[in-house]
Subunit: 189 residues, 2 copies
């Protein structure tokens, strides 16, 4: 993950205690970094023998689709919105600590088939709320969740623990151990 | 565009007079169709000598990123939300006839550089409101908009006229002439 690490080091910004990747991953997207992310997550979901990727709009779409293009696996991105649930959808409420409101993630029922091997994909594993909601949606649809694959994991946040608590393994391309004095400290550095 | 045409014919659905592509393009994403879309839009923006792609979340992200991966050009996806504008952003209000409310599209100011050759990319050219907002944002940033490239154009809608009215050319991979009795009629068929 050399391009991704370099991008986080040189173009990542720490603002309000959060790592911002909007210069290369979730607002502006760098094609070389994205291709590397697709290969990296592709290797993880290949290990799991996944046959479907599940993410949520909007910031999960880039890593999921890059993985789809690298592996040939289809992706589903859950719709995210504020308001009541729709008929004919699998959905969950998610509270967002950074945005301060509840929203819903939903997947149309006709898109997930029972028995599919679903890998959850997202840009960040942090609080884990969106990832847990996606796992629950896939399981409600009768799919088998083979794991969650993430671009960046924040090791001090409860995301991994929340995934493990519902019996779901997690792997990440890069793990940030901490943010100290506005600087990113990598777990492997 | 044989895979895209086949997908629209076999997996597209007409509901409430709208063409739904949620089985292969904007909810579930088929990697083979997406790769073809990236190559097709890549050829268009290559003709224009674009150096940056600009789209809006969420449904524009898939075609824009596929084009980025096919061409090596970076993409920016504008953030879409309801509420007041943010500082340090270029933004526009957009009214959505299908969703019935106004929302904002915004791009952080530091991401577009004056003089860049920007191609607007989106899944549909229909009413054209989002595309026009993106053109205005890019121009406000001092960029040169070289055109709008779309996956599917609805020929009976005012999108193309609205783009031309602000001096912006438009090209589409597939043009739907009409929807008659719940069936899609292609312009070239």
């Amino acid at each position: 993950m050399s391009l991704l690490l370099d991008a986080i080091r040189t173009e990542g910004r720490v603002a309000d205690g959060l790592l911002k990747v909007d210069r290369f991953l979730n607002h502006r997207v760098d094609p070389e970094v994205l291709a590397e992310v697709g290969e990296g997550i592709g290797a993880i979901v290949g290990d799991w023998d996944a046959d479907l990727l599940l993410t949520a709009e909007a910031s999960g779409i880039a890593p999921a689709l890059a993985t789809s293009l690298a592996t040939g696996l289809p992706s589903i991105y859950a719709k995210k919105f504020v308001g009541p649930g729709k008929r004919r959808s699998f959905g969950r409420e998610v509270s967002s600590p950074t945005k301060g409101f509840e929203y819903r993630v939903e997947v149309a029922r006709h898109l997930i088939e029972p028995g599919q091997r679903v890998a959850v994909v997202d840009d960040f594993l942090s609080g884990g709320r969106t990832a847990v909601a996606l796992v629950e949606i896939a399981r409600e649809a009768g799919a088998e969740v083979v794991g969650g694959a993430f671009v960046v994991e924040k090791a001090w946040m409860p995301g991994r623990g929340r995934m493990e608590a519902i019996g779901c393994t997690a792997r990440s391309l890069v793990t940030v151990a901490s943010i100290e004095h506005g600087e990113v400290v990598f777990a492997d550095a």
